[in-house]
Every structure is written in C-alpha cells, then in structure tokens.
Symmetry: C2
Subunit: 208 residues, 2 copies
C-alpha cells in the first residue's frame, strides 16, 4: 500500500509550501521580516507546525540558499558552450555579477549572510560553494594550460578572482557604493560602475 509514499509526498509538499512562503516574504521584506509567525500566517498554519518540518529558522534559509545556488547553476550552464577558457572565465564573471545585480537578496543570502553558514559549520563542508569554486579553478587551470596567467597557484588565483567579483557584489548589496562620486544610489549608475570596474579587472587578467 502506498500510504507511506503518500505521507512522504505530503511531507515534501508541506516543505515546499513553507519554503515558497518563506522565499516570498524574504524577497519582499527581508530576512528579519520573514519571521516564523509571518510565514505561518501566510500558509495558514500555526507557528509550531513549521518546527515539524524545519529544526530552526536558519534551516529554512539554508534550504533557500541551496535553491538560489540552483538558479545560479542554471544560469552558468550555457558556459559549457564557450570553448575558449579565458572567454569562459569572462562570461562566468559577467553572469555572476549579473546574478547579484538582479537578485540582490538571494546573492546576500548565498555569499554574505551568516544564517546559512551557521547550519553547516559543524561538518564544515559548503557543498554549493565548493561546486562553483571547483568550476572556477578548472577554468583557471585551462587558461593556464593555454599559456595565460602563468606562475600562480590555480586555487589561490581563483580565490583572488572570486574575491574581486564578490567584492563588487558585496559593496553593492550592502550599500557601500556611494563613495564613488558619480554614483548616488541610483540603480543604473550603480550597475554602470560595476560594469566599469569589471572591465578594469578583465583588462588586468588579460595582461597577467
């Protein structure tokens, strides 16, 4: 009898229901407004019920964090079509920054917030992060095999590249870009500055 299977399915549906509500509130009003009670209200269950599906609030946000990585992976999938590794590296950076620009809060959740990290610092193994980073290291290695960016440890260089990309995105997410004179918090000028800084960096990589 498929009773066990149906229960499993219902459990999964309930998790989905909670996650969808949590994501909606999170994206609309931010992490702190996305309280257990507001999530419970939205799905018309009592607060206690949520704890039957998630051990704690941050576990919900780890799940959302993982989903968001899924989105980013999908956006990066077309990179396989780019044959030249250096061109692929550039395209990868562009996709990364573009994702941050268009999904500020998801980017924040993935790479800035402490919440999801608190959930996995026991095992100390950040699977989603590893996956993106490994792909980056691979690409960097291929660039080096093609004669570019010689004389640097690929992991270290990859981290350096990632840092440069993340730095821009993090300053954007956390509203630190207004120090640059011609940017006064307007989206278009912010994204222009990011584009400009990205071009600077690519120019550096090209000459390395």
């Amino acid at each position: 009898m498929g009773i066990e299977e149906r229960k499993q399915r219902e459990k999964e549906q309930m998790r989905r229901l909670i996650l969808d509500a949590a994501r909606a509130i999170f994206l609309e009003k931010g992490y702190y407004q996305a309280s257990i009670r507001t999530i419970a209200d939205k799905i018309e269950y009592s607060p206690g019920t949520i704890y039957l599906y998630f051990k704690e609030k941050d576990e919900i946000f780890l799940a959302l964090h993982n989903e968001a990585f899924g989105q980013l992976f999908e956006l990066m999938a077309p990179l396989r079509m780019v044959e030249d590794p250096f061109e692929r590296l550039i395209a990868m950076g562009r996709i990364y920054i573009d994702f941050a620009l268009k999904n500020k809060d998801l980017y924040d959740l993935m790479f800035i917030m402490q919440a999801p990290m608190n959930m996995l610092d026991d095992a100390c193994h950040w699977t989603e992060g590893d996956r993106v980073f490994d792909y980056l290291v691979d690409t960097v290695r291929q660039c080096q095999a093609g004669g570019r960016m010689q004389g640097h440890d690929p992991s270290t260089l990859s981290f350096s590249i990632w840092s440069a990309m993340h730095g821009m995105c993090a300053l954007y997410c956390r509203d630190r870009m207004m120090v640059v004179a011609h940017v006064s918090d307007e989206f278009s000028s912010e994204s222009e500055l990011l584009e400009g800084a990205f071009r600077c960096y690519i120019d550096m990589l090209r000459k390395l």
Copy 2:
C-alpha cells in the same frame, strides 16, 4: 558659571560609558548579543537611560563604526612616509587586509553590516567611507601620473581595487573561505590564503 559646561561634560562621559560597554560586548559576543539590556546591565543603568543618549540602537553602532574608522585612519597615517605612489598603494592594501584580519568584527561593522548605513541613508553621505576612498583615488591618480595603470578612469579603477581587497576580507569575515581546499577554517591558513591572493592581485596591478 560652568554648570552648563559640566553638564555637557557629564553627558559626554555617559556617551563614552555606553559606547565602551557596547563595544566590549559587541567584540566579545557579537551584534545581537549586544542588546540594549546587556549594555545597560554592564554600566548599571536602566535600559531607558540609554535612549536619553542615543536615539536608537543602530546609532550606537554608527558611533562605534566611526570610532573604528578612526583606528583604521591611524594605521594608515604612516603611509604619508611612502613616497612612491605605487608602493604606497600596495602598503595601503596590506594595512587594509591586516586590519580586517585582526579586527574581524570591526571590519564587518564598517564595511558589511547594514546597521550603520541605515543611520545615514537619508543624507546619503558616508563621510568615513568617502575619506578612505578619496585617499585611494588620490594615490591611484599619482600612480597614473607616474605612467602606471594607464587608460582607466581613476574612480572606477579605485573602486575595482577596493572591491578586490574588500572581497577577500568579506569572504573571510563571513566564513566563505573553506571552499579553497587547503583552508579548513584555521586562522593561519586563512591568513596565508589572503596573503597569497593579495600577492596575485598586486602582480596584476603591476602589469596593468
């Protein structure tokens, strides 16, 4: 009569008392543990009193944020001694990263946390940030005057450089460095990776 002056002085002393307690708790147990009540407990006043000296919690943390910038400025003062602008640029980066490494939570407060920014997004003028950034732009301009890093808008290039530095520090502060294989959250290996990535970046700047 100096009664007004004494009152002013006492008011200032009380602010100091609150800020010192807040900083101590913040550095020991983090932002959320540094609640109004724990601060009030530490200085042996009632919670309500704190609101006679600060409009809201984040105003306390803006003050701490400003103090922290004071610290960073002091560390950067010796840069005036470095004559060659490019050497100065490198030294500046080193001081910046070193500050983040040794003052994780202060760096976080200065460049990552939303708290202090919430206090000034009306005026939209981040004085402390401007000051560091302007100094950076100046240095970059001097480098360009000396023939280095030609063909880039100094502001944009400066932002790009700052981003690269901030990226490393932010990934460090928010525990995203464990994706790099030979780093397993140990301080020494983290700081070694930061040093390595910094050297990579300097190498890039040199060739630009």
